[in-house]
């Protein structure tokens, strides 16, 4: 049987990856980072926000887009969950509703990469929600 993974193995993994990570850090400019908040409250969780957050993190990383994905509370659009708020560098945040995997990949392809608007934008009189 394989040995069970522990914190020590994480140290090992981290050391092996150190070189790679340093490369990434030196190339990152905080002002160029895409910020995404996933609404993760009762309504969001029930509609599958967890899967969407996983999908976004995996997809952004595999496409080498520098992004920070965090969680936020309910924005009051329970009917349109899962909702995500995307802030491109130097732009106002945009909130997308009814985000399934298809729409999430559309948002990455079109909005984040090419700056084109896609379906599902919620008309928010916008102030970002921090909690």
């Amino acid at each position: 049987m394989n040995k069970i993974k522990s914190i020590d193995d994480l140290k090992q993994l981290r050391e092996n990856m150190q070189a790679k990570i340093r490369l990434r850090e030196s190339s990152s400019h905080p002002e160029n980072i895409v910020r995404i908040k996933v609404a993760m409250s009762t309504c969001g969780i029930a509609s599958g926000a967890k899967e969407i957050m996983n999908f976004l993190m995996d997809e952004l990383e595999s496409q080498a887009i520098e992004a920070v994905v965090t969680q936020t509370g309910c924005m009051g659009y329970c009917y349109a969950e899962p909702t995500i708020e995307v802030t491109l560098p130097g732009k106002d945040p945009v909130v997308f509703g009814d985000v399934d995997k298809f729409r999430a990949s559309q948002i990455i392809e079109k909005y984040i990469i090419h700056n084109e608007l896609v379906d599902g934008i919620l008309p928010v009189n916008y102030r970002t929600i921090d909690n």
Partner: protein
């Protein structure tokens, strides 16, 4: 909510909103006493007595964005329909403690669910929160602390795919270890 893990994901958001810095989650499986106990304790703002009384009322919420607050009422319902109990206590300025006791072998008792996924998402998605997860089963105890992991990785926000995958596997393997042995057959879900 389909499972306990999703409830945890939901409850921790409450703590985050109450400006907690540390959340302690514990699950205690006790097949002997037929009790499956979930507790979540934070060091957030806490609640006044009046608010505490209303907290599990589905039509009460402190939010201004909507009129219902279902998170606590749902877990209360899920605990009570197995014949278990639910309690919530709070000290304003000190924090809040929630305890949901399920009858372990009741058919309506929720399965644990993808706890590995939830813990890693919380660690990455709420980087300012220290999360301590303690799972006790007949085969032993497993503790997952985001502080210990943060010390190694530096900024937990920078967790990449490989590290996230490692963390998930680490949680699954450890939980399997403490759960499987005691039940001989496959662990209860």
């Amino acid at each position: 909510m389909k499972n306990v893990a999703l409830h945890i994901l939901d409850l921790v958001q409450n703590s985050a909103r109450a400006k907690a810095g540390k959340v302690q989650i514990s699950i205690n499986e006790d097949p002997g006493k037929d009790i499956y106990l979930l507790s979540v304790e934070d060091d957030g703002e806490g609640m006044e007595e009046e608010q505490l009384q209303k907290a599990t009322d589905p039509f009460f919420t402190t939010r201004t964005t909507r009129k219902v607050g279902l998170g606590l009422s749902l877990i209360r319902q899920n605990a009570e329909r197995t014949g278990g109990s639910f309690s919530l206590s709070s000290v304003p300025g000190k924090g809040t403690r929630l305890e949901a006791a399920f009858v372990m072998n009741h058919p309506d008792r929720l399965p644990l669910g993808e706890i590995d996924d939830v813990l890693v998402l919380l660690a990455v998605g709420l980087p300012h929160l220290r999360l301590i997860y303690n799972h006790t089963a007949p085969g032993g105890q497993y503790k997952f602390d985001t502080e210990a992991i943060g010390e190694i990785i530096g900024d937990i926000k920078d967790c990449n795919l490989e590290i996230r995958k490692f963390l998930r596997e680490m949680i699954i393997e450890n939980l399997k270890e403490i759960r499987a042995e005691a039940y001989k057959i496959n662990p209860l879900p």
